[in-house]
C-alpha cells in the first residue's frame, strides 16, 4: 500500500498548490469548510481532515455561490461581449467524503448530461481533481448508506485516501488524473503495510426504497401541511446542501456597461418562482417546502435514476426548527398515499 504520513500534509499541500488551487477541510472560526490552501493562516485556521465532515459543503468549489459569467458594453444599438469568465484554473478538493463526492456526481448529471452542457461548470469540473476521504465512522446524523453510498469507497474519486488513525493516510490512485497527482507527490509516498480501521455502520437508517414511487401520488396529500408547519422558509437547508444546485442568472449594469452573473437561488424563497406577470405557482410556504422534498426524493430520481439526497445530514444539523429529512421519509412510508 502507498502511505502518506500526516505530518507531511502541509508540505504536500504546498507542493500541489504550485499547480492547483487546493481546497482543504479547515476549521475557520466557528465554521468548518473547504477553504483554499492559499488562504490558510495557521493563526486562524486548523486543518481538519480528521473531522467527520465540513459544516459548509464543498459545492461552491465547482458551483460558486456567485459567479460572473460575462461582461458587456453597449455601443449604439449593438451590445459587445467584452469578456467571458470561464474558470479553467486547476483545482484539487482534498478530503471530500463519500456523501459529498456523490453530490458532485449529482451536479455532473445536471450540468453535463441530458443533452445540455453548461460550459462554465464543465470548464471548472474538468479541471478539478477529487481526493476523497473514506469514512469509517459515520456521525449521529449520517445516513448515506441508506441513500446507496458506500462511505468507505467514495465515488467519484481520482484518489481515495484512508485515515488509518495512526498518523498515516493510505493513498490509492483511482483514475488517470489521480495517478498524475500521485506522481507529483511520489517522494512523500512510502510503500508500507498498514492496518485499516474497521468500518462502522451508519447509526441512522432510512427506508428510501419505494419512496420516490409513492410520492408520485402524494402531491396533493394533506401531509405536507403538517410537515411544513414548523418550516420558516429560510434557505439554510438548501445552501448547506451539497446537491441543491438551483441558481438564478442576473445582471448588474451601469451606464453603457455591465456584467451578467449566476448566483445560488433557493426553492424556499417566494421570489424563486415569482413570474413576470405577477403569478406565483408556489405562493405558500407549504408549496415551497413540498417542492424541496419532492425534488430531493422523487423528481431527481425520476429524471436521473438517483436521489438528490446523499445522506450527509447537514440540513438536519442546521435547521433552526429541527426539521429532519429522515423523519419525513419515515412518515411518507407510513401514511396512506391517498390520504
Amino acid at each position: 500500500m502507498k502511505v502518506l504520513s500526516k505530518d507531511k500534509l502541509e508540505t504536500v499541500f504546498n507542493r500541489l498548490a504550485q499547480e492547483s488551487d487546493v481546497y482543504v477541510p479547515m476549521q475557520r472560526g466557528e465554521q468548518s469548510g473547504f477553504f483554499s490552501f492559499l488562504t490558510y493562516d495557521a493563526a486562524r485556521d486548523e486543518i481538519a481532515l480528521d473531522i467527520l465532515n465540513t459544516y459548509l459543503p464543498p459545492k461552491n468549489i465547482i458551483l460558486p455561490q456567485t459567479e460572473k459569467m460575462y461582461s458587456f458594453r453597449q455601443e449604439g444599438t449593438k451590445v459587445n461581449i467584452e469578456e467571458v469568465y470561464e474558470d479553467s484554473q486547476p483545482k484539487i478538493i482534498f478530503g471530500i467524503r463519500g456523501c459529498d463526492a456523490k453530490a458532485v456526481e449529482c451536479l455532473d448529471m445536471v450540468f453535463l448530461t441530458r443533452g445540455y452542457e453548461d460550459s462554465f461548470y464543465k470548464s471548472r469540473r474538468e479541471n478539478t481533481v477529487i481526493i476523497a476521504n473514506a469514512c469509517y465512522a459515520p456521525g449521529p446524523n449520517c445516513f448515506c448508506e441508506s441513500m446507496g453510498i458506500d462511505p468507505v469507497n467514495p465515488r467519484p474519486a481520482d484518489v481515495i485516501i484512508r485515515d488509518t488513525g495512526n498518523g498515516t493516510l493510505v493513498w490509492e490512485a483511482a483514475s488517470d488524473k489521480g495517478k498524475k497527482i500521485s506522481d507529483q507527490i511520489s517522494e512523500f509516498l512510502e510503500e508500507k503495510d498498514v492496518k485499516l480501521p474497521e468500518a462502522k455502520q451508519c447509526q441512522r437508517q432510512v427506508a428510501y426504497d419505494g419512496v420516490a414511487e409513492k410520492l408520485r401520488d402524494m402531491f396533493a396529500s394533506p401531509v405536507w401541511d403538517k410537515l411544513s408547519e414548523p418550516c420558516q422558509n429560510c434557505g439554510i437547508c438548501t445552501y448547506l446542501c451539497p446537491t441543491c444546485y438551483c441558481f438564478d442568472i442576473q445582471v448588474k449594469s451601469w451606464g453603457e456597461e455591465g456584467y451578467r452573473f449566476r448566483c445560488w437561488d433557493s426553492c424556499m424563497y417566494r421570489e424563486y418562482t415569482q413570474m413576470a406577470g405577477g403569478h406565483n405557482p408556489r405562493e405558500t410556504g407549504t408549496e415551497r417546502f413540498r417542492n424541496r422534498f419532492l425534488h430531493k426524493l422523487e423528481f431527481f430520481k425520476e429524471r436521473y435514476g438517483t436521489s438528490l439526497c446523499t445522506g450527509c445530514g447537514r440540513c438536519i444539523i442546521a435547521c433552526p426548527v429541527g426539521i429532519d429529512i429522515t423523519n419525513i421519509v419515515d412518515l411518507i412510508k407510513e401514511v396512506d398515499a391517498g390520504a
Binding site: I236, T238, A318
Partner: protein, 301 residues
C-alpha cells in the same frame, strides 16, 4: 420545568377540547435528548407530545405570521423575550389580541438545541460546552409582559456584564477599523435570509429584498450586496427589535447580528427615549420611528 410542562399540557388540552382555540403552539422532542423543536398541537392526542424543557429556546411568536390572514384562534407559549414579540405583532397590527391565548412562562434561561446539534454533529473541531444560549446571557426581560395565564416563578434577568459593552467597543473604533470589522463578519453571509425569516419584526408581506421591480439589493454574495442587505434590514429594526436574539442564534455562519441590533436599540433609546421596544401593550401605541413629533431630533440626518 416538569411542573410547567404539565401545566402547559393541561391548559392546551382544555383549550383544544373546549374549542376555544384551533391550534396550540409549543414544543416537542426531536431525535435527541437535546433536540427540542416547535410543535403544533390540534388535538388532545397531539397535546401528549408537548414538552417544555431547558431547550425550549425558539421564539414561537414568529409562527403567528403564518396564521395572520386566517381566523383560527391560537394558543401559544411565550417566554419573556417572546412575549415582547407578541407586543411587536400587535403594535404592528399583524394580529388581533382576541385571537390569542397566551401562556406566559417566566424563563430561567434556555440552552440552544441548534448549537448543541452542531456541537454534537462531528462537523465542528472545537465544540463548545453545552451551556446557556448566548442570547440568554444578554436577557433583560425573562418574565412575560403580556399573557392570559402566567406560569413559573418570577426570574431575574440573565444579563451578564454591562448591557452595551460590546456596542461601545465598536463605537470606539475609528471608521476604518469599524469597516474592516463589519466587512469581515458580513463577508461570511450566505444570504439564506434565516435572520429575516425568524424575526417577528420582519413582518412585511413583501420584503424589500424580494422585490424585483426595482431590485433594491443585488443578489451577489459580495461585500457590497451583503452589507446593503444587513444594513437595510438593521435600519428597519430601529426601535422595533425586541431583542429575542433569534436572528443571531439561527445564523448558520455566526454573524453577530445582535451587535447591530443593539446599537440601534441604544441609539433609539438615547435619541427618542428612554425606550425599550415591546415592553407593554397599549392599544394604539407605536415605536418611536413609527410616529412623528415636531421636536424629534434630526441633527444626525
Amino acid at each position: 420545568m416538569m411542573d410547567i410542562a404539565n401545566k402547559i399540557k393541561e391548559i392546551a388540552k382544555k383549550l383544544l377540547e373546549s374549542g376555544e382555540i384551533d391550534v396550540f403552539i409549543a414544543w416537542e422532542k426531536g431525535n435527541f435528548d437535546y433536540q427540542t423543536r416547535p410543535f403544533f398541537a390540534r388535538t388532545a392526542d397531539d397535546v401528549e407530545k408537548i414538552v417544555f424543557d431547558e431547550y425550549s429556546v425558539h421564539n414561537l411568536a414568529n409562527f403567528l405570521l403564518k396564521y395572520r390572514d386566517g381566523k383560527e384562534k391560537i394558543g401559544l407559549v411565550v417566554k419573556g423575550c417572546d412575549s415582547r414579540g407578541i407586543v411587536r405583532l400587535l403594535e404592528d397590527s399583524q394580529f388581533q389580541r382576541d385571537r390569542l391565548y397566551i401562556v406566559g412562562v417566566c424563563c430561567p434561561g434556555m440552552k440552544d438545541p441548534l448549537q448543541t446539534m452542531k456541537d454534537n454533529s462531528g462537523l465542528n473541531k472545537n465544540p463548545a460546552a453545552d451551556s446557556l444560549a448566548a442570547k440568554c446571557k444578554s436577557c433583560i426581560q425573562p418574565n412575560p409582559v403580556i399573557y392570559d395565564e402566567l406560569l413559573g416563578e418570577q426570574q431575574n434577568p440573565g444579563i451578564e456584564g454591562e448591557r452595551f459593552a460590546r456596542v461601545r467597543e465598536i463605537e470606539n473604533m475609528d471608521a476604518g477599523e469599524r469597516y474592516q470589522f463589519f466587512a469581515g463578519v458580513l463577508s461570511q453571509c450566505i444570504r439564506c435570509y434565516a435572520c429575516r425569516q425568524v424575526c417577528v419584526a420582519c413582518n412585511c408581506r413583501t420584503c424589500i429584498f424580494d422585490e424585483t421591480r426595482p431590485q433594491w439589493v443585488g443578489r451577489e454574495t459580495s461585500i457590497e450586496d451583503n452589507m446593503m442587505y444587513h444594513l437595510v434590514r438593521a435600519s428597519h429594526m430601529a426601535g422595533r427589535c425586541i431583542e429575542c436574539g433569534e436572528c443571531e442564534r439561527v445564523c448558520p455562519v455566526n454573524i453577530p447580528l445582535m451587535l447591530i441590533n443593539q446599537k440601534l436599540v441604544k441609539d433609539v433609546s438615547e435619541l427618542y427615549g428612554p425606550y425599550e421596544a415591546g415592553m407593554e401593550y397599549i392599544e394604539g401605541a407605536k415605536p418611536p420611528l413609527s410616529t412623528y413629533k415636531e421636536n424629534d431630533p434630526d441633527d444626525f440626518i
